[in-house]
Protein backbone atom coordinates (compact mmCIF):
# COMPACT_ATOMS: atom_id res chain seq x y z
CA UNK A 1 0.00 0.00 0.00
CA UNK A 2 2.83 2.41 0.87
CA UNK A 3 4.42 1.69 -2.50
CA UNK A 4 1.13 2.52 -4.21
CA UNK A 5 0.98 5.85 -2.39
CA UNK A 6 4.59 6.59 -3.33
CA UNK A 7 3.75 5.90 -6.96
CA UNK A 8 0.80 8.23 -6.60
CA UNK A 9 3.02 11.01 -5.27
CA UNK A 10 5.26 10.59 -8.32
CA UNK A 11 2.18 10.82 -10.53
CA UNK A 12 1.02 13.98 -8.74
CA UNK A 13 4.45 15.55 -9.25
CA UNK A 14 4.24 14.76 -12.95
CA UNK A 15 0.75 16.28 -13.13
CA UNK A 16 1.97 19.48 -11.48
CA UNK A 17 4.37 20.11 -14.34
CA UNK A 18 1.87 19.36 -17.05
CA UNK A 19 -0.63 22.18 -17.13
CA UNK A 20 1.08 24.92 -19.10
CA UNK A 21 -1.47 27.17 -20.80
CA UNK A 22 -1.10 27.42 -24.56
CA UNK A 23 -0.23 30.84 -26.04
CA UNK A 24 -3.70 30.82 -27.63
CA UNK A 25 -5.45 30.40 -24.28
CA UNK A 26 -3.31 33.10 -22.69
CA UNK A 27 -4.17 35.43 -25.59
CA UNK A 28 -7.89 34.69 -25.16
CA UNK A 29 -7.69 35.47 -21.45
CA UNK A 30 -5.78 38.73 -22.02
CA UNK A 31 -8.25 39.76 -24.74
CA UNK A 32 -11.05 39.30 -22.19
CA UNK A 33 -9.13 41.45 -19.72
CA UNK A 34 -8.73 44.18 -22.35
CA UNK A 35 -12.43 44.06 -23.19
CA UNK A 36 -13.41 44.34 -19.50
CA UNK A 37 -11.05 47.31 -19.10
CA UNK A 38 -12.41 49.04 -22.22
CA UNK A 39 -15.99 48.58 -21.02
CA UNK A 40 -15.20 49.83 -17.53
CA UNK A 41 -13.35 52.84 -18.96
CA UNK A 42 -16.35 53.60 -21.16
CA UNK A 43 -18.74 53.31 -18.20
CA UNK A 44 -16.52 55.47 -16.00
CA UNK A 45 -15.77 58.12 -18.65
CA UNK A 46 -16.51 61.54 -17.10
CA UNK A 47 -19.16 63.76 -18.67
CA UNK A 48 -17.62 66.44 -20.86
CA UNK A 49 -17.04 69.32 -18.49
CA UNK A 50 -16.90 73.10 -18.97
CA UNK A 51 -17.82 75.24 -21.96
CA UNK A 52 -20.80 74.55 -24.15
CA UNK A 53 -21.51 71.03 -22.78
CA UNK A 54 -21.90 72.03 -19.14
CA UNK A 55 -23.94 75.09 -20.16
CA UNK A 56 -26.21 72.92 -22.29
CA UNK A 57 -26.63 70.38 -19.47
CA UNK A 58 -27.52 73.16 -17.02
CA UNK A 59 -30.36 74.49 -19.16
CA UNK A 60 -31.79 71.11 -20.09
CA UNK A 61 -29.92 70.11 -23.24
CA UNK A 62 -30.56 71.17 -26.82
CA UNK A 63 -34.31 71.43 -26.26
CA UNK A 64 -33.77 73.86 -23.40
CA UNK A 65 -31.33 75.84 -25.55
CA UNK A 66 -33.94 76.07 -28.34
CA UNK A 67 -36.52 77.50 -25.92
CA UNK A 68 -34.04 79.95 -24.54
CA UNK A 69 -33.06 81.17 -28.00
CA UNK A 70 -36.72 81.58 -29.02
CA UNK A 71 -37.43 83.56 -25.83
CA UNK A 72 -34.39 85.75 -26.42
CA UNK A 73 -35.38 86.54 -30.01
CA UNK A 74 -38.93 87.32 -28.88
CA UNK A 75 -37.55 89.60 -26.17
CA UNK A 76 -35.41 91.50 -28.67
CA UNK A 77 -38.38 91.86 -31.02
CA UNK A 78 -40.54 93.21 -28.23
CA UNK A 79 -37.72 95.46 -27.15
CA UNK A 80 -37.59 97.02 -30.58
CA UNK A 81 -41.31 97.15 -31.31
CA UNK A 82 -43.37 97.29 -28.19
CA UNK A 83 -42.35 100.47 -26.42
CA UNK A 84 -44.62 102.66 -28.61
CA UNK A 85 -47.60 100.47 -27.90
CA UNK A 86 -46.81 100.31 -24.21
CA UNK A 87 -46.33 104.09 -24.22
CA UNK A 88 -49.82 104.47 -25.65
CA UNK A 89 -51.25 102.23 -22.97
CA UNK A 90 -49.42 104.24 -20.33
CA UNK A 91 -50.78 107.51 -21.72
CA UNK A 92 -47.50 108.74 -23.21
CA UNK A 93 -45.59 108.69 -19.93
CA UNK A 94 -42.58 106.93 -21.51
CA UNK A 95 -42.39 109.56 -24.26
CA UNK A 96 -42.45 112.33 -21.69
CA UNK A 97 -39.47 110.74 -19.96
CA UNK A 98 -37.64 110.43 -23.32
CA UNK A 99 -37.54 106.62 -23.08
CA UNK A 100 -39.32 105.91 -26.36
CA UNK A 101 -38.19 106.82 -29.82
CA UNK A 102 -40.17 106.05 -32.88
CA UNK A 103 -38.51 103.53 -35.18
CA UNK A 104 -39.54 102.46 -38.62
CA UNK A 105 -36.85 99.86 -39.09
CA UNK A 106 -39.00 97.08 -37.67
CA UNK A 107 -42.75 96.64 -37.76
CA UNK A 108 -44.41 97.50 -34.48
CA UNK A 109 -46.96 95.56 -32.54
CA UNK A 110 -49.52 98.38 -32.78
CA UNK A 111 -51.59 96.39 -35.21
CA UNK A 112 -52.17 93.80 -32.51
CA UNK A 113 -53.80 96.34 -30.17
CA UNK A 114 -57.60 96.61 -30.18
CA UNK A 115 -58.78 99.40 -32.47
CA UNK A 116 -61.06 101.90 -30.81
CA UNK A 117 -64.54 101.88 -32.28
CA UNK A 118 -63.61 98.96 -34.49
Amino acid sequence: MQNDLDDLDALFAEARDEAKPSPTLSARVLADADRVLRESEYMAAPEPSGGLFSWLTAIGGWRGAGGLIAATVAGVMIGFSAPEAIDEVLGGQLSLLGLVESSTLLPGLDDLLPVEGG
Binding site: L5, A19, L25, L30, D32, V36
Partner: protein, 191 residues
Protein backbone atom coordinates in the same frame (compact mmCIF):
# COMPACT_ATOMS: atom_id res chain seq x y z
CA UNK B 1 7.22 48.25 -15.50
CA UNK B 2 6.21 44.56 -15.45
CA UNK B 3 9.25 43.76 -13.30
CA UNK B 4 8.15 46.29 -10.67
CA UNK B 5 4.58 45.03 -10.69
CA UNK B 6 5.79 41.45 -10.47
CA UNK B 7 6.82 42.09 -6.90
CA UNK B 8 3.28 42.97 -5.87
CA UNK B 9 0.79 40.57 -4.29
CA UNK B 10 -2.14 39.35 -6.38
CA UNK B 11 -4.72 41.48 -4.55
CA UNK B 12 -2.70 44.65 -5.17
CA UNK B 13 -2.49 43.73 -8.85
CA UNK B 14 -6.27 43.31 -8.90
CA UNK B 15 -6.72 46.87 -7.63
CA UNK B 16 -4.23 48.16 -10.21
CA UNK B 17 -6.07 46.30 -12.96
CA UNK B 18 -9.35 47.84 -11.87
CA UNK B 19 -7.66 51.21 -12.25
CA UNK B 20 -6.79 50.50 -15.86
CA UNK B 21 -3.30 48.97 -15.52
CA UNK B 22 -3.12 46.40 -18.34
CA UNK B 23 0.29 45.10 -17.24
CA UNK B 24 -1.36 43.85 -14.05
CA UNK B 25 -3.56 41.56 -16.16
CA UNK B 26 -0.48 40.07 -17.84
CA UNK B 27 1.13 39.23 -14.51
CA UNK B 28 -2.06 37.86 -12.97
CA UNK B 29 -2.59 35.70 -16.07
CA UNK B 30 0.95 34.34 -15.88
CA UNK B 31 0.53 33.55 -12.18
CA UNK B 32 -3.02 32.28 -11.99
CA UNK B 33 -3.98 30.79 -15.35
CA UNK B 34 -1.71 27.71 -14.99
CA UNK B 35 -3.26 26.96 -11.58
CA UNK B 36 -6.80 27.34 -12.86
CA UNK B 37 -6.12 25.30 -15.97
CA UNK B 38 -4.41 22.55 -14.02
CA UNK B 39 -7.27 22.30 -11.56
CA UNK B 40 -9.96 22.28 -14.25
CA UNK B 41 -8.00 19.75 -16.37
CA UNK B 42 -7.66 17.26 -13.54
CA UNK B 43 -11.24 17.64 -12.35
CA UNK B 44 -12.83 17.56 -15.81
CA UNK B 45 -10.40 15.16 -17.48
CA UNK B 46 -10.78 17.06 -20.74
CA UNK B 47 -8.29 19.69 -21.88
CA UNK B 48 -10.63 21.61 -24.21
CA UNK B 49 -13.35 21.86 -21.58
CA UNK B 50 -10.74 22.80 -19.00
CA UNK B 51 -9.51 25.66 -21.19
CA UNK B 52 -13.07 26.99 -21.55
CA UNK B 53 -13.58 26.82 -17.79
CA UNK B 54 -10.21 28.49 -17.13
CA UNK B 55 -11.05 31.33 -19.53
CA UNK B 56 -14.49 31.80 -17.96
CA UNK B 57 -13.02 31.81 -14.44
CA UNK B 58 -10.41 34.41 -15.44
CA UNK B 59 -13.11 36.53 -17.08
CA UNK B 60 -15.04 36.51 -13.81
CA UNK B 61 -11.87 37.58 -12.05
CA UNK B 62 -11.46 40.58 -14.38
CA UNK B 63 -15.08 41.53 -13.89
CA UNK B 64 -14.79 41.24 -10.11
CA UNK B 65 -11.69 43.46 -10.02
CA UNK B 66 -13.63 46.72 -9.74
CA UNK B 67 -15.00 45.65 -6.34
CA UNK B 68 -11.72 44.16 -5.08
CA UNK B 69 -10.08 45.59 -1.99
CA UNK B 70 -6.41 45.14 -1.22
CA UNK B 71 -5.97 42.89 1.81
CA UNK B 72 -9.33 41.19 1.23
CA UNK B 73 -9.93 37.77 -0.32
CA UNK B 74 -6.96 36.13 -2.03
CA UNK B 75 -7.53 36.16 -5.79
CA UNK B 76 -6.11 32.64 -6.13
CA UNK B 77 -8.47 31.22 -3.50
CA UNK B 78 -11.40 33.09 -5.03
CA UNK B 79 -10.43 31.77 -8.45
CA UNK B 80 -10.13 28.17 -7.25
CA UNK B 81 -13.65 28.44 -5.82
CA UNK B 82 -15.04 29.76 -9.12
CA UNK B 83 -13.16 27.07 -11.06
CA UNK B 84 -14.39 24.32 -8.74
CA UNK B 85 -17.99 25.47 -9.16
CA UNK B 86 -17.73 25.87 -12.93
CA UNK B 87 -16.15 22.42 -13.23
CA UNK B 88 -18.85 20.78 -11.12
CA UNK B 89 -21.52 22.50 -13.23
CA UNK B 90 -19.96 21.07 -16.37
CA UNK B 91 -19.67 17.60 -14.89
CA UNK B 92 -23.30 17.64 -13.82
CA UNK B 93 -24.55 18.98 -17.14
CA UNK B 94 -22.66 16.30 -19.03
CA UNK B 95 -23.80 13.54 -16.65
CA UNK B 96 -20.21 12.71 -15.65
CA UNK B 97 -20.62 13.73 -12.05
CA UNK B 98 -20.09 11.16 -9.29
CA UNK B 99 -22.14 12.03 -6.21
CA UNK B 100 -20.91 11.81 -2.66
CA UNK B 101 -22.26 8.32 -2.15
CA UNK B 102 -21.81 6.96 -5.62
CA UNK B 103 -18.11 6.24 -5.78
CA UNK B 104 -17.51 4.07 -8.81
CA UNK B 105 -15.27 1.04 -8.60
CA UNK B 106 -12.57 1.27 -11.24
CA UNK B 107 -13.14 -1.10 -14.11
CA UNK B 108 -9.71 -2.63 -14.04
CA UNK B 109 -10.57 -5.70 -16.02
CA UNK B 110 -12.57 -4.34 -18.90
CA UNK B 111 -11.25 -5.36 -22.32
CA UNK B 112 -8.57 -3.16 -23.79
CA UNK B 113 -8.29 -0.92 -20.74
CA UNK B 114 -4.60 -1.53 -20.28
CA UNK B 115 -3.81 -0.94 -23.95
CA UNK B 116 -5.75 2.31 -23.78
CA UNK B 117 -3.80 3.39 -20.71
CA UNK B 118 -0.52 2.67 -22.46
CA UNK B 119 -1.58 4.77 -25.43
CA UNK B 120 -2.95 7.70 -23.54
CA UNK B 121 -0.17 7.82 -21.01
CA UNK B 122 0.07 8.20 -17.33
CA UNK B 123 -1.79 11.48 -17.10
CA UNK B 124 -4.81 9.99 -18.77
CA UNK B 125 -4.65 7.15 -16.26
CA UNK B 126 -4.60 9.67 -13.45
CA UNK B 127 -7.55 11.53 -14.96
CA UNK B 128 -9.50 8.33 -15.29
CA UNK B 129 -8.77 7.37 -11.72
CA UNK B 130 -9.69 10.85 -10.51
CA UNK B 131 -12.95 10.61 -12.43
CA UNK B 132 -13.96 7.65 -10.26
CA UNK B 133 -13.82 9.77 -7.12
CA UNK B 134 -16.81 11.66 -5.78
CA UNK B 135 -16.72 15.36 -6.72
CA UNK B 136 -15.61 16.66 -3.33
CA UNK B 137 -12.87 14.05 -2.95
CA UNK B 138 -11.63 14.78 -6.44
CA UNK B 139 -11.53 18.54 -5.84
CA UNK B 140 -9.80 18.11 -2.49
CA UNK B 141 -7.19 15.69 -3.83
CA UNK B 142 -6.38 17.91 -6.81
CA UNK B 143 -6.14 21.05 -4.70
CA UNK B 144 -3.99 19.37 -2.03
CA UNK B 145 -1.72 17.07 -3.97
CA UNK B 146 -1.46 18.67 -7.40
CA UNK B 147 -2.06 22.36 -6.76
CA UNK B 148 -0.28 22.19 -3.41
CA UNK B 149 -2.79 24.26 -1.44
CA UNK B 150 -2.77 24.10 2.35
CA UNK B 151 -5.78 22.54 4.08
CA UNK B 152 -7.18 25.85 5.45
CA UNK B 153 -7.20 27.31 1.94
CA UNK B 154 -8.89 24.19 0.53
CA UNK B 155 -11.48 24.48 3.30
CA UNK B 156 -12.17 28.05 2.14
CA UNK B 157 -12.39 27.06 -1.52
CA UNK B 158 -14.76 24.16 -0.92
CA UNK B 159 -16.59 25.90 1.94
CA UNK B 160 -16.07 23.00 4.37
CA UNK B 161 -14.21 22.50 7.65
CA UNK B 162 -10.49 21.72 7.81
CA UNK B 163 -11.33 18.36 9.38
CA UNK B 164 -13.54 17.58 6.39
CA UNK B 165 -10.67 18.49 4.05
CA UNK B 166 -8.32 16.14 5.91
CA UNK B 167 -10.85 13.35 5.68
CA UNK B 168 -11.59 13.96 2.00
CA UNK B 169 -7.93 14.08 0.96
CA UNK B 170 -7.03 10.97 2.95
CA UNK B 171 -9.93 8.94 1.57
CA UNK B 172 -9.40 10.38 -1.90
CA UNK B 173 -5.74 9.44 -2.00
CA UNK B 174 -6.51 5.93 -0.77
CA UNK B 175 -9.24 5.49 -3.37
CA UNK B 176 -6.93 6.78 -6.08
CA UNK B 177 -4.21 4.35 -5.08
CA UNK B 178 -6.77 1.54 -5.24
CA UNK B 179 -8.03 2.74 -8.61
CA UNK B 180 -4.49 2.74 -9.99
CA UNK B 181 -3.42 -0.52 -8.35
CA UNK B 182 -2.82 -3.25 -10.85
CA UNK B 183 -1.95 -0.72 -13.55
CA UNK B 184 1.66 -0.23 -12.55
CA UNK B 185 2.94 -1.65 -15.77
CA UNK B 186 0.72 0.64 -17.77
CA UNK B 187 1.79 3.54 -15.61
CA UNK B 188 5.45 2.69 -16.01
CA UNK B 189 6.03 2.10 -12.29
CA UNK B 190 6.41 -1.70 -12.49
CA UNK B 191 9.54 -2.85 -10.74
Amino acid sequence: MDAELDELQDDALMVLFANGERAAARILTARLLPKVLSHASRVLGDRTEAEDVAQEAMLRLWTAAKDWTSGGAKPSTWLYTVTANLSVDRLRRSGRSVGLDESVEPEDDRPGAEEQLVQKGRMDALDRALATLPERQRQAVVLRHIEGLANPEIAEVLDISIEAVESLTARGKRNLANALAGQKEALGYAK
